[in-house]
Each structure stands twice: as C-alpha cells, then as structure tokens.
C-alpha cells in the first residue's frame, strides 16, 4: 500500500474485534461530527515513478548548472563520498534523541566526538551537540550572553552577516532587548565606535571572522575592551577557515558560533545546516541545547549520556535556558565524519588551497580595467570587488554566461550598489577562474 501500512484486511478485522468495535470510525468518537474537515481536497496518491517524474521536472527548473562564485556564508565545497555513504545509514538517520543511552551509544559517542572536534577547531573549551544553523546559533549566543551578564544591550558589528543581523533584530525587538549596529570602516570593525558604545549595560559584542566582506581580523583588542566593561564577546566563524586562521579561543572570545555547512553539508537551498556553538567551561550551564557527557556504566565501562539536562525545557519548562528541543544531530555527525576524513593536516591544506585559489582569482579580476579588488585587509576565500557599474546588473549578465558571479552588496548595504563579494573554493579550477575573468571583462566592457 502506498501509505506504508503493514496490516492486511484480516489483521485489521482481528484488531477491531479485540478492541470490541466494528469499525475504525468508532475510535474517533471524541471528534464530533460537526468537526469533520470542511474540505480535504488533496490529490490522490501517486507511484514513486510518477512522483520522481514530477520532481525531476521541478528540479530541471533550477539553475543547477551555474558555476558558483557565490558564498556569503554558504560555500560550494566538495563532499567526499564516504561522508554521504556513512550518514545515509538508517541506524544514524532513523534514530531519535538518545533518551535511552544503552541503545544510543552510536549517536552519543559521535556527538561527544563532534563536541570535541568543535572545541579543538575553535579553540574553545566546551561545545554543545549543535543548534539549528549559524544564524539561530548567533541568536542563542546573544540570549546566552544576556542571561550570563543579566544585561540587555547587544552591540553588533556591521561586518556580521546581514542575514544574521536581521534575525537578531527580529528576536531582540520582539523579545525586548536593545540592539545597536556599528558600521564597517575599510572592511574592518569600527573600533572607536564599539568602544564608545560599550558600557556596563552591554551584554555582548558580536563579531564575525572573516566578516561578510571576506576580511580577516584579529579581535583580541576588542575582547579586552569588552571584558573591561564586564561584557562578553561572541565571535561568529567560518569553520573551514580555522584550518589556518586565529581561533575565537585564541582571541579570547567568550562564545564562538558558526555555520557548519562548510564542513561536509550540501547547500540544500538553505537547510538543514549546522549551528555551532562553543564557549568557556565556566559558562557551560548557560549554553542552550543538548550536551553529551562522558561517564561510566554500572560495570565501570566508559560510556556517554545526555547530561546537564536540568537546564532544558523538558525539565525546566518555563524556566529553561532556551525552548530548544531538537538539535541537528545528523548534520553534526555528518560534519564530524568530514572533519575525521580531512584530519588536522587535510584541513590545513584545504584552507590553504581555498586561500590560494581566491588569491589567483583576485589577481585575474584585478587585471580587468575599471575593476578594483579591495585589499585594505587580508581575506580568506571570499573578497570584495568594486565594479564600474551596478553589481546586480553585472551578476545578472554573468548568469547568461553560466556563472553565479558573486553576491551584490547593495541589497544589504545601501550605497554599495557597485560592490559584490566573490567566493572561490577548492572546487573552482584554474580554467573556470580564467573563464570567469574573461566573462566578467566582456560583461563590463
């Protein structure tokens, strides 16, 4: 049967007889007749073949063939075959939250390893078992800072993803927090402005590295200033860049968050992704979401359990640290498999490859007359390009040449209509980059 029902009519008969009713309808006696659906106009079921045909037609309407030079926090990295193969195992995919540790050690140990991998990657001391995505992780971090400090003011650097800033704005305005944005100066955080705003009502300063323009920074000095006022620093990171870049831990940040998509997850048109959050050990109780801890079983054998659950909604109810129930375990395990395959050397090498390819692309783009590449700060694999005309039109024209050329900044930064950010991952070949530069030259001239 199409609805994946396992019972035969004879089974149904027998079950009804045991229950002592003559029809299934009788079991629904509590739903009054007057509450029957006023309409239920859903198409009849179809075969797998028919649905595949339908969805293949829809898939063909997506421009999947464009060569992507678009990033903005979400990157086209290669995913090794072993990642997909392992994460497709039903034992991982079709289990649920490990409430019963004896029959969930697979998920639990993997999440413990994931937490450890995130800690060593970010230079932080404790991580949770994941949040929904990078944007909501940043919101949770801000709320966590507010809880820790008992303060309500949040300072947000304009270099943080504009999408994340919009999310924060929704939550802070609906949930009564004060939220101030500081501008970006020459691609970097506006330090004097942040210092001016920092006071003893400030819960947190939120920063991002590399920032939305692709610029790399070292925020250690801002951390010192924030701590002088008793405020915390939240650093949002691009995890793959940490193969090379200074970690939030090394900068002294209090909470690190990040979008884990770059660690072996497909782009999936926006999700599911992986919300990373890590912090100092002394803040662990204020960290939202599930946490897996190591312990021993009754025979003294090492094992893993959900721990510090008394912080969570199913126990604390209205006093919980967050209303979060699910995490994204499967995505967390997926990123762990990816990180394990890469290993410390592979990650370093991959980050370097991204850096080098982006530099090669920058040099090629710079050769185009009238086009400038921002070099006021060093960058990782994404950089800002200044065009002689409206970037959104240039990007539109590049689509016809087969490229997703970048993300125009005018959409989120009024006055920057001629700017775009361009991302180059390890997947972009020399030929693609040269063809891109050639196409860009043609579009502009």
């Amino acid at each position: 049967m199409a609805s994946f029902i396992a019972n035969t009519p004879a089974d149904v008969e027998a079950m009804l007889k045991t229950i002592g009713v003559s029809s299934i309808d009788e079991l629904f006696a509590d739903i009054k007749r007057s509450h029957a659906p006023k309409s239920f106009n859903i198409p009849s079921g179809k075969s797998e073949f028919e649905v595949t045909e339908h969805l293949s037609r829809l898939a063909a309407k997506n421009a999947a063939g464009l060569i992507p030079f678009i990033g903005g926090g979400y990157y086209d990295h290669f995913i090794p075959a072993a990642v997909t193969a392992l994460i497709s195992r039903g034992e991982f995919a079709t289990a649920y939250t490990p409430y019963q540790p004896e029959c969930s050690q697979g998920t639990l140990q993997a999440l413990y390893e994931y937490q450890s991998a995130i800690c060593t990657l970010t230079g932080m001391e404790v991580a949770n078992a994941s949040l929904y995505d990078g944007g909501t992780a940043l919101y949770e971090a801000a709320m966590m800072a507010a809880r820790l400090t008992g303060r309500h003011k949040i300072i947000m650097d304009g270099g943080v993803s504009p999408i994340y800033r919009k999310i924060l704005k929704t939550y802070t305005s609906n949930l009564h927090y004060e939220f101030t944005e500081t501008p970006v100066v020459h691609g970097q955080s506006d330090r004097p402005q942040i210092r001016k705003l920092l006071d003893n009502d400030t819960a947190a300063v939120i920063l991002q590295n590399p920032n939305f323009f692709g610029a790399i920074d070292d925020h250690a000095d801002i951390v010192i200033k924030a701590h002088e006022q008793g405020a915390l620093v939240i650093e949002s990171v691009y995890p793959l860049s940490l193969g090379i870049l200074k970690t939030p831990g090394e900068m002294g940040a209090d909470i690190a968050t990040g979008e884990g998509q770059s660690l072996g997850l497909p782009l999936n048109f926006g999700g599911p992704y992986l919300g990373i959050i890590a912090t100092r050990k002394k803040f662990i109780r204020a960290m939202p979401g599930r946490i897996v801890g190591q312990t021993v079983d009754k025979n003294g054998k090492r094992c893993f359990v959900n721990t510090l659950q008394a912080r969570e909604q199913h126990i604390r109810r209205e006093k919980a640290a967050s209303n979060i129930c699910t995490n994204v375990s499967l995505c967390a395990v997926q990123s762990l498999i990816y990180m394990s395959l890469l290993g410390k050397e592979g990650l370093k090498e991959l980050a370097q490859l991204n850096l080098d390819k982006a530099e090669f692309a920058r040099q090629e783009i710079e050769k185009i007359p009238g086009v400038a590449v921002k070099r006021s700060s060093p960058t990782f694999n994404e950089f800002t390009v200044v065009l002689p005309k409206d970037a959104s039109q240039v990007v539109e024209a590049m689509i016809t040449k087969g490229f997703a050329a970048g993300f125009p900044l005018g959409r989120y930064y009024p006055g920057m209509e001629n700017y775009m950010i361009v991302a180059v991952t390890e997947k972009r070949t020399k030929e693609e980059i040269l063809a891109y530069a050639k196409a860009l030259r043609e579009v502009i001239h």
Binding site: R285, Q309, A310, R311, I315, R316, K319
Partner: protein
C-alpha cells in the same frame, strides 16, 4: 523521614535554625530524597538581600531542577561553598553539613510564618 526538633520549616521543604538573629537554612531530608542525587547547587550571593518565600537558590539533580525559597527575609552573610564542589553533601547530611546559607534576619516576627517540627511532621504525613 528525619525531622530535627528545634528547627522551623516551610511547605516547600526548607528548614531554618535561628540563633540570635542569624538564620541558617537548608532543604529537608524529605526534599533531598525527593530530588535524588544532587548534582549542582546555585547559592545566593553573599551580601545580597532576600525576601521570605522568594527564590534565592536552586538545586539540580539529574532529572529535576528545583528553586529554593528563602524561609526568612534578610541579608545573606555566608553560603556553604563546599556544596559547589561536592553537592552530594546535601544527600548525606541535609540538616547539618548540607546547609545552604546563613541569613541575618531583618524581621524576627517572620518566624511565626513557619512550621514547627511537629507541624511539619504532620504536614509530611498529610502529603503522604
């Protein structure tokens, strides 16, 4: 269930022992047993003011979290810092070594809002 004779009690299962105007507070044997193995205690701030029957501490076990209410009003003058590293003391000695905080009482009359040991014993029997 153990009840100490000369202490006073609340319906939320806190105890208090008053000497001069210093009230030593904690949770009762009944409360520690109901919570199970205690894993974490958040103590009030020394120097802070607390109000009678308002939240002033919280105690967690593996699968429960409970707010603890101040049995009397006043200023917190000392807390049992040993509980931070060894919260299980409360399970072993709820009425002595597991005390939570000492409060300098601002209103000695408040003691009349509390139950005597005898009354608390009856209260425990009534809730079964």
């Amino acid at each position: 269930m153990e009840v100490v004779d000369h202490y006073l009690y609340t319906k939320e299962h806190e105890w208090v022992s008053i000497e001069d105007n210093i009230a030593t507070t904690g949770i009762t044997d009944y409360a520690q047993e109901a919570l199970g193995d205690i894993t974490f205690v958040e103590l009030p701030e020394v120097g802070g003011e607390v109000e009678q029957f308002e939240e002033f501490a919280s105690i967690e076990s593996v699968k429960a979290a409970n707010d603890i209410f101040a049995p009397v009003s006043g200023k917190v003058i000392e807390v049992n810092t040993r509980l931070e590293s060894d919260p299980g003391i409360i399970n072993k000695s709820a009425f002595e070594k597991g005390w939570l905080a000492k409060v300098q009482m601002s209103d000695k009359e408040e003691a009349s809002n509390l139950m005597t040991a005898e009354e608390y014993q009856k209260f425990l029997e009534s809730i079964g």
